[in-house]
């Protein structure tokens, strides 16, 4: 952790993430207004003492809406990533450990899935499953699975032929013991790093889906949806697009920088 904080990217990333998590946990409580309450007289207003970040087309307080949308947006990113990383890692470890024909079959299928651009693939799944937050989360998770499986497999492969694994095999340990105690703990680093960076992608894809009307539905305060709903009013009050847009950017950047720093910290070659 100290290593992460030493690099400027790591520091910025950590600070941004700290803010994001604070907002995620406490945001809905500290919001000054009900995120759904109208204020018809102050529609599309700029920042003022009354409404710190202005109001949207219904006169709803943008600051409160942004705070309120944080949990769902961040939970979406984390949830989709956890699911994708979990499933992907299991597949990858199985392929890496089993090797031979199983490995070939699994990896060829995943290669086929990887050939599709990420966003297109997500859109395809969402179109198939129908819109909604849960469906969008599933779709992002499915899209993440092949990439994660590849990374898990390669890190398993790099560990599998190390001396301590060979020693365990020579000792006659069972296969599951070797995987659980020797291979996995040592292969976990790259997976965690990749997962952290992926959270930012998940949040951005989630926002994109919300923007396209395929994710969260009104009157939800999901940030991507907020951008989509107020896009028409951009010329009259740029704040109603800028506020949720910036929130997405800060969150994505936080995870991304933190992930970068994490990778550097895990990488022995870069630590000197």
């Amino acid at each position: 952790m100290r290593k992460i904080l030493k690099s400027p990217t790591g520091l910025i990333g950590t600070v941004l993430l700290a803010i994001v998590f604070f907002v995620t946990v406490f945001g809905p409580w500290v919001a000054p207004y009900d995120p759904q309450a109208f204020d018809p007289i102050n529609r599309l207003a700029g920042p003022s003492l009354q409404h710190w970040l202005g109001t949207d087309q219904y006169g709803r307080d943008l600051f409160s809406r942004m705070l309120n949308g944080a949990p769902s947006t961040v939970a979406f990113g984390l949830g989709a990533t956890l699911l994708g990383v979990g499933v992907g890692s299991i597949i990858g470890v199985i392929a890496g450990v089993a090797g031979g024909r199983t490995d070939s079959i699994i990896m060829r299928i995943l290669d086929g899935m990887l050939a599709m651009p990420e966003l297109l693939f997500t859109l395809l799944i969402v179109t198939f499953l129908g819109g909604g937050t849960t469906q969008a989360m599933l779709a992002v998770a499915v899209t993440f699975t092949p990439g994660m499986a590849r990374i898990a497999r390669s890190s398993v492969l790099s560990v599998r032929t190390r001396e301590y694994v060979l020693a365990a095999q020579a000792r006659g340990e069972s296969q599951s013991w070797i995987v659980g105690r020797e291979v996995l703990p040592n292969a976990l680093g790259p997976i965690i790093v990749e997962a952290t960076i992926r959270v930012s992608f998940a949040i951005m894809i989630g926002a994109t889906l919300g923007f396209l009307g395929l994710g969260a539905q009104p009157p939800s305060t999901e940030w991507g949806l907020m951008v989509a709903e107020s896009r028409q009013f951009m010329f009259r009050n740029p704040w109603c697009v800028a506020v949720p847009g910036l929130a997405i950017a800060i969150t994505a950047m936080g995870f991304n920088l933190f992930g970068d720093a994490l990778r550097d910290a895990f990488d022995p070659k870069r630590s000197h």
Binding site: A37, F38, R43, Y58, G131, G213, Q217, F235, R236
Partner: protein
């Protein structure tokens, strides 16, 4: 600005009522000047030119320019002569005789005769050919050419509104030759009798129409050409219009209207029309079977707020009748004030003293449905209605909720007559009957209205029908949406009929530099 537009619209209406006398364009006190190319921007594709079946918002103006019908809906929402110069009906409205205009030719030079009318209507009524106008012409039993310039319609049942039906945007006259040829050719070619001829058809970019020198109104159209330019992106469309690249913006979004209309050199038009959102409350289900609950919800909605927020003030509050004020025989509807306390009391009287928890369904397209739901949720909360909004993709909505669910948001376009409006939704055998209201008295009134030719008697009948609708409140109708369009100042006489399918582009002219 809007004040000016209104007066201008009335001038236009007056003109149309006067029967569109050639050369009667007197806006700004100057004579129309021939020449010029009008560039019209639109944001939806002109996917087909097939006049029998098309329905796109940008396809209608093309059809209005390329083809003529027997009758045509004017800006005053009344049928006026087009290819038919006059028409008469027998007393019980079962036989209509149309006299046709002399000397009209199709764009390829072949003369227009009664035989083409017969061929067109036989095609429209042929169930094997997709045609959008068939639903308003189902009562037509036969169409016969009496002579070259007279056509007689015989109806299976009385129908006084036939001249409205013949003005249907998809009931335009095609030549017999075109109909007997491969019908799919109509998708990309057009041989009509309208004021403009097809020059270029590129559905992905531009449709260009040029002046028909032989149009039946002498000296018209004034324009040399009209270019319908597609801008799939709204921001690009607006930017091009504001910079002067295009002359007319076919449809303006409510959110942009103020900004566009107040730009210099641009005139916005706000045309009162009958497009509406309605709240469906299915009457064979609890709690909507109780008229008090429906009335309470009606009182719990702040209609003016909905107009202000959702329509940016570009519309009018409606008071729970689907009949637009523009329609013939429409009655004045009493205002329903926003009264959450009264609504709460009425709800308590109906047996819900602690309020009512219900789920309101709104499809995600167009956005106005969800917007209406959001505002309803906020204003009705004060009256004890606890609305949970569930939005869903439009396809799911159509498959699972529409005409099945008990509480959802509908969205409908304007119909040309009261008969068409009610027969679409509210009579027991209406095409999209989804309230289960099924009032026999109402049905018989609508039937009577159809078969009565006398306007005074019809007015009385339709007044009773509308009173029934108000009393039983099958729908909550919070507002009517205005039609919005904009043109540059050098364009004169550009307008849109309330039903937004008729444009009379032959009257449009441009200042010449």
């Amino acid at each position: 600005m809007s004040h000016f537009t209104l007066t201008r619209r009335h001038v236009l209406m007056g003109m149309a009522a006067a029967g569109a006398i050639p050369g009667a364009s007197f806006a700004q006190g100057s004579e129309p000047v021939p020449g010029g190319t009008l560039k019209v921007s639109h944001s939806t594709r002109i996917a087909t030119l097939n006049v029998l079946s098309n329905s796109g918002p940008a396809e209608y103006p093309c059809m209005d320019m390329l083809y003529s019908g027997l009758t045509r809906m004017g800006f005053d929402n009344q049928p006026q002569p087009d290819l038919a110069t006059e028409w008469t009906a027998n007393d019980d409205a079962t036989e209509f005789t149309f006299s046709l205009r002399e000397g009209v030719t199709f764009h390829d030079g072949t003369p227009f005769t009664a035989d083409d009318v017969v061929a067109t209507y036989e095609t429209i009524l042929n169930p094997d050919v997709p045609s959008a106008a068939r639903s308003v012409l189902t009562m037509v039993e036969s169409v016969k050419a009496v002579d070259d310039l007279t056509v007689k319609f015989t109806l299976a049942a009385p129908f006084a509104d036939l001249p409205y039906s013949t003005a249907h945007a998809n009931a335009r006259i095609l030549s017999r030759a075109a109909l007997e040829d491969d019908i799919s050719k109509l998708d990309t070619t057009a041989n009509g009798t309208g004021p403009f001829k097809l020059d270029t058809y590129d559905s992905a970019r531009m449709v260009r129409l040029v002046k028909n020198e032989n149009y039946y109104k002498p000296g018209q159209p004034y324009l040399d050409a009209v270019e319908m330019m597609l801008f799939p992106d709204l921001a690009a469309e607006t930017a091009n219009f504001l910079s002067g690249e295009t002359d007319v913006m076919l449809t303006v979004q409510q959110a942009d209207y103020e900004r566009i209309a107040s730009s210099s050199g641009i005139e916005g038009q706000q045309i009162g029309a009958g497009r509406y959102v309605c709240v469906v409350m299915r009457q064979d289900q609890e709690p909507w079977n109780d008229v008090r609950v429906r009335k309470a919800l009606g009182m719990a909605i702040d209609r003016q707020l909905m107009v202000d927020i959702i329509l940016e003030g570009l519309g009018r509050p409606a008071y729970d009748s689907i009949v637009a004020p523009e329609l013939e025989f429409a009655t004045d509807k009493p205002e329903i004030a926003y009264d959450p306390e009264g609504a709460r009391a009425l709800l308590a009287e109906a047996g819900y003293p602690d309020g009512l928890d219900v789920t309101l369904i709104a499809s995600d397209r167009p956005a106005i449905r969800a917007q209406a739901a959001i505002v309803m949720q906020q204003t009705a909360a004060a009256a004890g209605f606890n609305l949970e909004i569930r939005t869903m993709p439009h396809d799911t909505y159509l498959a699972e909720e529409w005409m099945q669910g008990d509480f959802y948001i509908g969205y409908w376009g304007m119909q040309p007559t009261i008969d068409a409006t009610y027969n679409l939704l509210l009579t027991s055998d209406a095409s999209y009957q989804d309230t289960e209201w099924k009032n026999e008295e109402f049905d018989s009134l609508i039937q009577q209205g159809r078969s009565t030719a006398n306007p005074e008697e019809r007015a009385e009948i339709y007044a009773q029908a509308q009173a029934l609708e108000l009393e039983d409140k099958p729908y909550i109708v919070p507002f009517f949406e205005d039609v919005l369009t904009a043109s540059r100042e050098n364009v004169h006489e550009w307008s849109v009929a309330p039903i937004s399918r008729f444009y009379f582009v032959e009257d449009v002219w441009m200042d010449q530099a």
